[in-house]
């Protein structure tokens, strides 16, 4: 008989289980640490150390009143820090402190479960801030560790690495179910209700006004504004003007949008169209980007009189839309009397020198055309320096830039140019957006970054409509032709990825970004449209949520039954020794020597060898081997193989 293994143990929570649980919870909390005020981080670390000490020294847990006092203090602290206890940051802070308090009253396995669920919550709140691949990997590690420690509390006698392995196999087996649920769960476009005001803070992007410094601030940001997939080859860089917010009102310092005119802007498209798909990163504003000039607005968006595209809801999630643009056009819409008057308005008492210059052009030159050409020449020959760190300007900003400092960023150029045009009596407006973009050779997407933010002007030339004039291109053609890195003076601090001559870094970056893009497109950007698209590719067009729910149910059930068979039927797998022996018995039974129900192998062997005299030696050998393998001490694998071969070769 095999040895008894009576393993009885008290229902204790040994130190190592607690230590692993605390490690998992710490990993769940860690990504938030940088986002908290220092006192929350410090307090949480202290509580963790305290709890570890309690578990190590087997000390009693602190009394209830102390916990309640601490919880009250913590809530008050959150309120004092955030001035609210709702909202994203305050909510996450409270969650962390709730977890810390829970640690201090963890007495039973049930409390441990609650702490583990809180850790899952913390892992999910992390996605408010970041949903990148590294975040996902961290989440996976957290879930593995925390689940492993939960297994540990349910099987206290096992080694920690066995518990982690169990947690790992649970996660692996859950993965197919997760995929099915993820792709088939009927998707709803959120939000279901209002989200806290601060839920989308911290996203970068263009602003609804432009003053000196607005865009140059962006130019140090490496983050991606949007990605474009062209049908066919992308147009040359110099023609890629991505239109964003348009500004009409100038107060001497800041350009503002004014009231957008909601009737559709009309224009005449010339030449071929360009088709592409844009995936825009969330920027918490309404505008959508498109190449000058978009033929039509995508779904859930409107087209304004000055050719902006405005989404019906703020872009708070990554958004994908198909676009068609005319790179050549005659933009003669949006030029009613009121529009043109607005495009001529200038604040009084500002920039006398620029006004004088414009007035001089007006007086000496006959046509608007000539004035425009003169102005462009002025910028081209003015020895202006394109720089990210222009000197500070004071009251008469245009004057100071044009005649004194002569150093500026695209917003200075655009702003001054529009000022000059208006002063000369030519309607002008400022357009901001992005210029250029970079082709990622790995996946063929053109990536447009925040650092590509740009500003240019449009002037009304009567017959020819609104004409785009980019004074930056006149002053610093390299900016438009080759991008910002080539345009700024050597030694300027640029985002790492924008710098030139780092080819291996660049190729690494390209690969990583292509991967991130796939991630964005298929994991993060999996929305109701993507789901419809994928299902119709599988042959289920127009599946409504009921069909989806059915598909989800049945596929999960199927996956689960496969898994159940695999997990449960494996139990019945026979001992190889027994299996071979039964084959042997069947062979003998066919010769009429059937084994009695209570007959031992050696007796049976003796009887069979008597019945089959010519095989007697083999029969005895096999039955002796069987008795040895089955009831003897563990034998080497070689002996089993010999036994199996003997049975297979046996021909009674």
């Amino acid at each position: 008989m095999k040895p008894m293994d009576a393993i009885l143990h008290p229902d204790a929570h040994p130190f190592r289980h607690m230590a692993w649980l605390l490690a998992g919870l710490a990993l769940a909390t860690a990504p938030h640490a940088s986002r908290f005020s220092w006192w929350i981080t410090a307090g949480t670390v202290l509580v963790f150390i305290w709890r570890l000490y309690i578990a190590w020294r087997d000390r009693p847990l602190p009394p209830r009143w102390l916990l309640f006092t601490l919880a009250g203090l913590a809530t008050a602290g959150v309120w004092l820090t955030f001035r609210t206890i709702f909202g994203r940051d305050a909510g996450v802070s409270l969650l962390v402190m709730l977890l810390a308090m829970k640690l201090m009253e963890m007495r039973s396995t049930r409390d441990v479960s609650v702490a583990v669920y809180l850790a899952y919550f913390l892992a999910i709140t992390n996605f408010f801030y970041s949903q990148t691949i590294p975040t996902a990997a961290l989440m996976l590690a957290t879930v593995l560790l925390v689940t492993g420690s939960l297994v540990g509390f349910n099987a206290p006698m096992r080694a920690v690495k066995d518990n982690l392995r169990t947690a790992g196999s649970l996660l692996l087996q859950a993965a197919p179910l997760m995929l099915l649920l993820f792709f088939l769960f009927p998707r709803v476009q959120g939000p279901l209700w209002g989200v806290p005001q601060d839920a989308f803070s911290g996203v970068t992007g263009l602003s609804d006004s432009m003053s000196p410094g607005t865009l140059s601030q962006l130019s140090t940001s490496d983050s991606i504004a949007f990605r474009v997939k062209f049908e066919g080859s992308p147009p040359p860089r110099g023609r890629m003007y991505w239109r964003g917010p348009v500004f009409w009102n100038y107060d001497g310092r800041t350009w503002r949008a004014g009231v957008p005119r909601l009737q559709e802007g009309s224009f005449e498209g010339l030449g071929n169209t360009t088709d592409y798909e844009i995936t825009v990163e969330p920027h918490n504003r309404f505008w959508l980007f498109a190449l000058d000039l978009p033929a039509r607005a995508p779904r859930n968006a409107r087209f304004t009189g000055d050719y902006q595209m405005l989404s019906n809801t703020a872009v708070r999630t990554r958004l994908r839309y198909d676009m068609r643009s005319y790179l050549s056009y005659r933009a003669n819409g949006g030029a009613e009397e009121a529009d043109l008057r607005a495009a001529l308005t200038l604040p009084r008492d500002f920039n006398p020198r620029a006004r004088a210059l414009a007035q001089e052009w007006r007086n000496t030159l006959k046509s608007d055309d000539a004035v425009l050409r003169e102005a462009i020449e002025f910028f081209r020959n003015g020895r202006y320096l394109y720089t990210l760190e222009p000197p500070l300007l004071e009251q008469h900003m245009v004057d100071e830039f044009l005649f004194d400092t002569k150093q500026g960023f695209c917003e200075h150029f655009a702003s001054s140019f529009a000022f000059l045009m208006r002063a000369a009596g030519i309607p002008a407006r400022v357009v901001t957006g992005y210029q250029g973009g970079e082709l990622n050779p790995v996946d063929g997407y053109v990536v447009v970054r925040q650092a590509d933010a740009h500003a240019w002007t449009e002037v009304w030339m009567g017959e020819r409509g609104w004409v785009r004039v980019d004074p930056t291109a006149a002053a610093s053609p390299v900016r438009v032709e080759s991008g910002i890195a080539a345009a700024v003076p050597q030694g300027t601090v640029l985002p790492l990825m924008m710098r030139q001559r780092l080819d291996w870094v660049r190729s690494l970056r390209d690969n990583w970004e292509a991967l991130s893009n796939q991630w964005n497109q298929w994991v993060l950007g999996y929305n109701p449209e993507r789901q419809r698209e994928m299902l119709s590719r599988l042959g289920f067009s127009d599946a409504d949520w009921r069909q989806l729910a059915q598909m989800m149910f049945w596929s999960v059930a199927a996956a689960l039954s496969v898994m159940a068979m695999w997990l449960l039927l494996r139990l019945k797998r026979q001992d190889p020794v027994q299996k071979a022996w039964l084959v042997f018995c069947r062979k003998l039974a066919r010769k009429g020597v059937e084994r009695g129900p209570a007959e031992g192998p050696l007796d049976y062997g003796a009887r069979a060898s008597a019945a089959l005299p010519e095989q007697s030696q083999t029969v005895r050998e096999i039955s002796a081997d069987y008795a040895d393998l089955r009831y003897g001490p563990p034998a080497p694998a070689q002996q089993l193989r010999t036994f199996q071969r003997k049975v297979a070769d046996f021909r009674p």
């Binding site: 009885l8 689960l560 449960l568």
Partner: protein
């Protein structure tokens, strides 16, 4: 008793098979069957392993719902991923919990006799019968609290012994009550359990009282007037003194010489024989008190190494000695039922 059904199984088997098509019959069968102890090895088949979520499991579901709603509201794609991953883990853990108990074999082990008022220790043997380890199987009886469950791990292909304590209040046979085997491994979200009642009983002896060994008594039926310990039969030797020896038999002369105390031995039946008779006990004692008294005497007699016999109404245990005699007498005392109701006062 247990062999009865097999005799009648000839025509019942096809009937049961026919009735098996009826859902109601199966349900009632499921409800009402298996209340009798089962002999031999009990295999926990899928029909008798039940699985339901625990309270933690329900809280987990609630947490998942909140996470799902949050993911929808904030359009968190990775939130969906995490929620569905955890949902998958929850679903898969049901299979693991079930598997942790499924096809376990349970059989009765040994149980030692105890005295009434003590705790009987039932040993139950669990056999894995699987290629995977089983963890944290918890066993507890119907009357004990789940918190007092006995915990046991069962490595692949091995067996383990679990001792279930059960209070033995009364003498007689103490059958093992229905026991629950449950497990919440791996995550505590679901509980798989099964009820088993292995055919197993403990013998409970009457609780001995604190009386002393009785004075020597005559056997009336034999007309024998000799009394134990004061026999005047032939002296035949001495042996070292034992605490239970009568002072009258101590060889004082030898002891006075400074030797270790010795006891004089006399040949003759009466010197080392005791008879305990139920009927001879004082009338003020009721039946249980008499049995307690007899149990005490049996213990004392065996300890002092004398031969003893016991007479109960309608039953006589012939003279004997040693542990075997003690167990025999105690068993008779444990199982004694008054033949005549009027016999007990």
């Amino acid at each position: 008793m247990n062999t009865q059904p097999t005799q009648a199984a000839g025509w019942r088997k096809p009937l049961r098979r026919l009735l098996g098509f009826s859902r109601l019959y199966n349900f009632l069968d499921w409800i009402f069957s298996r209340h009798r102890p089962e002999p031999g090895t009990i295999l926990l088949t899928q029909r008798r392993v039940y699985v339901l979520p625990t309270r933690q499991g329900l809280i987990f579901c609630l947490a998942l719902m909140v996470m799902l709603i949050g993911s929808i509201n904030y359009n968190l794609s990775l939130g969906y991923v995490l929620t569905f991953l955890l949902a998958g883990v929850g679903i898969v853990s049901i299979l693991h919990t079930f598997r942790n108990l499924f096809r376990t074999r349970v059989r009765a082990g040994r149980v030692e006799p105890v005295f009434a008022g003590d705790t009987a220790q039932f040993r139950i043997i669990l056999e894995s019968g699987a290629e995977h380890d089983r963890h944290s199987l918890r066993l507890f009886g119907r009357s004990s609290h789940a918190d007092d469950a006995q915990n046991c791990d069962l490595p692949a292909g091995r067996s383990a012994e679990v001792t279930l304590p059960m209070p033995a209040a009364q003498r007689g046979w103490l059958p093992l009550e229905r026991i629950t085997i449950e497990t919440r491994y791996p995550l505590g979200l679901t509980r798989a359990w099964s009820y088993v009642q292995p055919d197993m009983r403990a013998l409970v002896y009457p609780r001995p009282d604190d009386s002393l060994l009785p004075p020597p008594q005559a056997r009336p039926d034999m007309g024998d007037t000799l009394s134990v310990g004061s026999g005047t039969d032939d002296y035949y030797g001495m042996r070292p003194y034992q605490p239970s020896d009568s002072p009258r038999h101590v060889a004082w002369k030898a002891t006075a010489r400074g030797q270790d105390p010795l006891t004089k031995l006399f040949s003759g039946r009466a010197a080392s024989e005791l008879w305990f008779d139920y009927e001879q006990l004082p009338a003020r004692l009721d039946r249980e008190a008499r049995l307690s008294r007899l149990a005490r005497w049996v213990l004392l007699a065996e300890r002092s190494g004398v031969k003893f016999g016991m007479r109960l109404p309608g039953l006589e245990v012939p003279l004997g000695e040693g542990e075997i005699q003690r167990e025999r007498c105690l068993k008779e005392l444990a199982l004694f039922q008054a033949v005549d109701a009027g016999d007990a006062p």
